[in-house]
């Protein structure tokens, strides 16, 4: 089976965000594989181990994303592709990203493409379904279970707490929800092997794409921090007095119950 996992390099979830002059400061921040994409990589490896085939991890971004791709290779992916847009594009949106990714994938005959259901930075969750639509294949988002039998697939989707069982067929794009699996940590031999695995780097030219074909449709004009919250009130006295004061405050002052 020909399996692709889409991977994005993102800020570590433990990082504090600092905004300066309308931009996120990246200096000194730790970067990771977007946690939802980690589920995608893990699932791709498990599907390959069960059904055979090859896992390619694909990322879009700058040279720095090589590190996250090497991590995915160390987890067990076979090959990596980095589409480096650093020199060609100043700004991208989901339209641009999905266009570039689908342009790369269109002649790859992927049986299964797995992405995270959302990236924890931009948080739009658009790129997976957009890529599927551009490739003309079906997609199922926010999956928590995937079983493949020949070209049939049975999936469980998380829909706002409900679970939907879906039957469909390959080729297919799915996006991973938490609970799909437990991503493995790269082993030491895995890390050693990953250094020798192929990592191909491409630019827009290699995909026969012009910059204006992938020009963003939307524009970020400012980035800012949420307003600081004033310090709250920690109640005092007997616990039972505190509780009745709290319920009273929620009712009378905050008017939320």
């Amino acid at each position: 089976m020909n399996i692709y996992a889409l991977v994005k390099r993102t800020f570590d979830t433990e990082e504090k965000i600092v905004v300066k002059n309308g931009a996120i400061q990246e200096d000194g921040a730790e970067f990771i594989i977007n946690p939802y994409d980690e589920y995608a990589v893990e699932e791709a490896i498990q599907v390959r181990d069960e059904h055979g085939g090859e896992v390619t991890v694909l990322s879009l971004g700058g040279e720095d994303a090589e590190k996250q791709l090497r991590t995915a290779l160390a987890m067990g992916a076979d090959k990596a592709v980095l589409i480096n847009t650093e020199d060609d594009l100043d700004e991208m949106d989901e339209f641009s990203a999905s266009k570039i990714i689908s342009e790369y994938l269109k002649d790859k005959d992927a049986d299964l493409i797995i992405a995270g259901n959302v990236a924890i930075d931009g948080g739009s969750g658009q790129v997976g379904p957009r890529v599927a639509e551009l490739l003309g294949i079906n997609y199922v988002t926010t999956i928590t279970d995937l079983k493949i039998d020949g070209t049939s697939a049975t999936l469980v989707r998380d829909v706002e707490g409900d679970s939907e069982t879906i039957e469909t067929s390959l080729p297919l794009l799915v996006t991973a929800q938490q609970g799909l699996n437990e991503p493995r940590y790269p082993s030491l031999p895995g890390i050693m092997k990953a250094k020798k695995k192929p990592l191909e780097e491409l630019e827009l030219d290699d995909l026969d794409l012009d910059e204006d074909e992938v020009e963003a449709k939307t524009k970020t004009i400012d980035i800012f921090m949420p307003p600081e919250k004033a310090a709250g009130r920690v109640l005092e006295g007997d616990i039972s007095d505190q509780v009745s004061e709290l319920v009273n405050l929620l009712n009378k002052e905050a008017k939320v119950i």
């Binding site: 339209f95 379904p129 706002e160 004009i221 949420p226 009130r233 920690v234 709290l246 905050a254």
Partner: protein, 327 residues
């Protein structure tokens, strides 16, 4: 220039969800005096059309088909695109719900348009409208503009105030017949986990438990309190990882991002990744035995104490407040 805007209403178990009315309000802001047309898709939705008008839609177009009874991206995109072709709107607004998240990128891709997802606030009106959306799960915000062409946004439930309901409003309701074919996904089964039917992303009140709740049983009082307040139960990653509850309840940077009117954090220390998911709630209450817990930094009200003592007392107090408990 005034814009004609298409919004998609969303029903759950035969009733329109609130977010439907919020999309109308958002559409009004964007339209700059243009027409707001509501689209309703389902196997039987015509009876819901008037309510969309009462909340401000100028017109309603319904598409009824047996294949639209349950949402699938293939069926809904075919029906919505048929309405799009008929109406040729300048802008589209959907709710950023499970359905909206799944459907909107497919539509945007078909339309070769941009898509501004998960908008929590609109500044300005008409052509000058700018859209605020959380990034890094609410650790920061960005302001986004469309660079032209079709404007397409999804709005986060519970953030944009709907217009007041006015039953004297009237509007034209028409239906469109659409041939729906070539469905690639079949929904074999649906298991409803949310017994109360209050979805986390739309809940006005959320009672969330953390590691401090200690067990699956420990969540029971939280459920009772949530039930009393008409809210939903959520959890921290710690509680989910420890198997006290299902991952579908997880709130945080991984998990759901919520903005209820009232968020009660019970036995949650307030890891940065959890705070990203809830710190924009309107009123936050923290109950924790550790006075140094981070959660108190974002809480409007805090009680330092044992949750197993505090939560049952709260249940009693709320019962008192609401009069005798519902039978």
């Amino acid at each position: 220039m005034s814009k004609n805007v298409l919004v998609l209403g969303e029903a759950r178990e035969g009733e329109l969800r609130n977010v439907s009315f919020e999309t109308i309000a958002a559409a009004k802001t964007i339209s700059g005096g243009g027409t707001v047309t509501a689209v309703l898709l389902g196997d039987s939705v015509e009876n819901l059309a008037q309510e969309m008008v009462h909340y401000g839609a100028d017109r309603v177009v319904t598409v009824e088909h047996p294949h639209l009874k349950q949402y699938t991206s293939d069926a809904y995109s075919q029906a919505f695109m048929a309405v799009y072709e008929q109406e040729k709107p300048d802008a589209i607004v959907l709710g950023h719900t499970a359905m909206g998240k799944d459907l909107s990128p497919k539509l945007a891709s078909k339309l070769s348009s941009g898509l501004i997802s998960d908008v929590t606030k609109i500044e300005g009106e008409g052509d000058a409208a700018e859209f605020i959306r959380p990034i890094y799960s609410g650790k920061a915000f960005e302001k986004v503009q469309s660079k032209g062409g079709l404007l397409f946004i999804t709005i986060r439930p519970n953030n944009i105030e709907p217009l007041a309901k006015d039953e004297s409003r009237s509007g034209d309701v028409s239906s469109l017949t659409v041939d729906i074919t070539n469905l690639r996904s079949v929904i074999a089964n649906v298991v409803r986990k949310s017994t109360e039917g209050v979805d986390l992303s739309e809940a006005k009140v959320i009672i969330a438990g953390g590691r401090g709740v200690k067990s699956e049983d420990g969540f029971k009082p939280l459920e009772e309190l949530a039930h009393l307040l008409g809210g939903a139960v959520g959890a921290s990653r710690g509680a989910c990882d420890a198997d006290y509850c299902d991952y579908s309840l997880q709130i945080g940077q991984t998990g759901k991002v919520v903005t209820p009117d009232l968020y009660i954090a019970v036995g949650i220390s307030g890891a940065i990744q959890h705070m990203a998911g809830m710190s924009n709630s309107k009123v936050i209450v923290a109950i924790n035995k550790d006075p140094e817990a981070n959660i108190f930094k974002v809480a409007d009200y805090g009680i330092v104490g044992d949750l197993f003592e505090v939560v049952p007392m709260m249940i009693e107090e709320v019962k008192k407040l609401k009069g005798s408990p519902a039978v």
